[in-house]
Amino acid sequence: MKQILEQLPIVIGALNVGFIQTLKLFFITLIGAFPLGLIVAFGAMSHFKPLSYFTRIIVWIVRGTPLMLQLLIIYYFPGLVLNTPIWGSGESGRFAAASISFIFNYACYFSEIYRGGIQSVPVGQQEAGLVLGMTRSQIFFKITLLQMLKRIVPPMSNEIITLVKDTSLSRIIALQEIIWAGQAFMKGSQGISGAIWPLFFTGVYYLIFNGILTILLGRLEKKLDYFR
């Protein structure tokens, strides 16, 4: 116990650094996947059949294969198979590859949530907008969007919380996120070796962060309760 207390500041320092990387990946995925998912959703709903089929096939592939496999392929494929290492070396290259993989993967999941949300808004809403002389984009942004958002908050919250934990998959390409940072103390780092408790301790970070997110998303859901 005494030993753990002595190690604690060192471990927390290292885990903080790892967690910052986790948070960066988390936020950049959301920033990229929120809009990209909407574009994918529109592609899947397009009346232009080839585009709709193409989009649905992509979504099928991305949702049908493990994110870990996608990470490995996106990170290693350009360099090892195509002989064009586009990601560069070091942590920034790994982070870029992880970001692309996560944004793409999550955009596909989000797209299905968006599609469900948009299609659950009664068609009469759109017709009312049309009859009132609104353009398609006015109808989307002024009428459909908020009604869709209200409906997708619960399933989106689920995905967002899953994303927090999924970022740990980037450990497979040695991105130095919090799991990587915790694991380092098993092999030996900063004078501590053979310690497994730092790895377990990373769970506290996830729990606290997801707790905060749950509260914030709950508030958002409440905020949209002003209409039905």
Partner: protein, 259 residues
């Protein structure tokens, strides 16, 4: 001169002829009621007038201008349809109010969006918005909803919702206001308050096309009645003629079941 002329409209869905050779005209300030059993094509006809459906054949004229001609693709351009729609207003059976906006915002929204397209909108922004708001408040007062302007649709009764929807349509000053069974989603008590509002509009010479199952109301408010059956206009004329001296057996039968 007729404000609305409909010539030989046909519409089919997947091989089913929903509208067959529909022709009628309407004078400015008049009210035409369209009656008939469910599935006779009444709603489809209204949707064609509002460009929510495109007829397969036929011509629609407003103020002698050809808005739609099935044989002339130039009258079917998506970009033009938006403007042409504004000749018509449509009040839906299920109101279709925008739930995230208050009654007042529902009435103002479309007008504000249209105003933004005015070339000098930026210069006169505050006056224009104030004008739109004043007009919207006036319309809601006219509908007897002055105490309700800041309520959201879910806080209103069905009758109140439908009156907001009527105000929303009126805000754009359509030449012809269409009603698609405006009281069919309402219980009898609420039906009365909506019919009263429509009657008042008729007194003010609002040009209206009303699809309804309220026969007494149709008889009272209409200048012209159209009886539709199986996609055709079976009989039309002034209310007395259709309601009391129907020529067709089918019309008599229908009316006998209603009364």
């Amino acid at each position: 001169m007729a404000i609305l002329e409909v010539h030989n409209i046909y519409k089919n869905f997947g091989g089913n002829e929903i509208l067959k050779n529909i022709s009628f005209s309407l004078e400015k300030g008049q009210v035409v009621s369209i009656i008939g059993s469910s599935g006779s094509g009444k709603t489809t006809l209204l949707r064609c007038l509002n460009f929510l459906e495109q007829p397969d054949k036929g011509i629609i004229k407003v103020n002698n201008e050809i808005l739609f001609n099935a044989d002339d693709p130039k009258t079917q351009l998506e970009s033009e349809i938006r403007k042409k729609r504004l000749h018509f207003g449509l009040v839906f059976q299920s109101f279709n109010l925008f739930p995230q906006y208050t009654a007042l915002q529902n009435v103002m929204l479309a007008k504000e969006l249209l105003a933004k397209e005015l070339p000098d909108y930026k210069k006169h922004k505050t006056e224009i918005r104030k004008e739109i708001k004043t007009e919207a408040v006036r319309l809601l007062n006219q509908m007897g909803l002055s105490a309700r302007i800041n309520n959201y649709p879910h806080q209103l009764s069905g009758g109140q919702c439908q009156r907001v929807a009527i105000a929303r349509s009126l805000a754009l000053h359509p030449d012809i206001l269409c009603f698609d069974e405006p009281t069919s989603a309402l219980d009898p008590e609420l039906t009365g308050e909506v019919l009263k509002v429509i009657k008042e509009l008729a007194v003010q010479n609002t040009t209206m096309v009303i699809v309804t199952h309220e026969m007494a109301f149709a008889k009272e408010v209409s200048d012209h009645v159209i009886f539709m059956d199986n996609g055709c206009i079976l009989e039309q004329g002034d209310p007395i003629q259709v309601f009391e001296n129907a020529k067709e057996e089918r019309t008599k039968n229908f009316l006998a079941h209603i009364h």
